[in-house]
């Protein structure tokens, strides 16, 4: 499909406006980011910027996942004013696996289990005080978990 230029410009503007809106509106599932098929695209849609690498984001995930269908992930941080925590698996068909919206009473420590289709870099992205911080780890998958 050919994308005409007008349409593209309109799309870019629309995304820009959406990202500029206050985060209260984030109280809806970021469907667009979930639909992205590329890790960078998912992150650009969800965060609007490239997260800054930070060792204050702690990503606990096995280095070798024997079963890609069930990979336990725990993300925590000592950053303050945490607004959201997201998990991105760079090489998955849908890279954004999960995004957690936290409130003022939340403790920034979340665990979930994800599927990994193949060995990939996994990113944990924390939004705190309006900025994005990330930590990544390379996970080796012995048996892929996307079926097929």
């Amino acid at each position: 499909m050919k994308i005409d230029r007008r349409f593209f410009i309109r799309k870019v503007l629309a995304v820009g406006v959406l990202l500029a809106l206050p985060r209260i509106l984030f109280a809806a599932r970021p469907d667009k980011a979930f639909a992205a098929t590329d890790g960078d695209e998912a992150m650009a849609t969800l965060f609007g910027e490239t997260p800054v690498a930070s060792d204050r984001v702690v990503l606990k995930i096995p280095e070798i996942a024997e079963n890609g269908a069930v990979v336990p992930v725990t993300i925590s941080t000592d950053l303050e004013n945490v607004e959201s925590i997201s998990v991105v698996v760079a090489k998955n068909p849908t890279p954004l696996a999960a995004s957690f919206a936290l409130g003022p009473r939340s403790v920034a420590n979340v665990s979930v289990r994800i599927k990994m289709g193949e060995s990939s870099q996994v990113l944990a992205v924390v939004k705190a005080g309006g900025k994005h911080y990330s930590t990544s780890k390379d996970v080796k998958v012995t048996i892929g978990g996307c079926g097929g």
Partner: protein
């Protein structure tokens, strides 16, 4: 109606910790049925919301890459033993399930 959620809510000092297991197939939509070779349509939980005293304390937005029968754990402050936590999910086909638990 979705299958019932298994939930455990525990106070660890000031921190209220919730662990939940939600039986759900979490079909990603990439798999083919071995018998018919038809693509199995995606069916997965998209939203999980936890409320304490009418306050949303945790929201999870999920894609199809969350494992089958999802497990999630999260923590928050400001709860006490005997308080109730409400947890509910909905999926991409409009199914839902809800449960509540009392902090121990």
């Amino acid at each position: 109606m979705g299958k019932p959620i298994k939930i455990r809510a525990k106070m660890k000092g000031d921190i209220a910790e919730v662990k939940a297991l939600m039986p759900h197939e979490m079909e990603a939509g990439f798999r083919r049925d071995p018998a018919t070779n038809e693509r199995v349509p995606a069916h997965y939980i998209t939203d999980v919301v936890a409320e304490h005293n009418g306050d949303v304390v945790f929201t999870a937005y999920w894609g199809p890459a969350v494992s089958k029968n999802p497990f999630v754990s999260f923590s928050f402050l400001g709860a006490a033993v005997g308080d109730t936590i409400n947890l509910h999910w909905k999926d991409n086909k409009g199914d839902s399930s809800a449960t509540e638990a009392v902090f121990k």
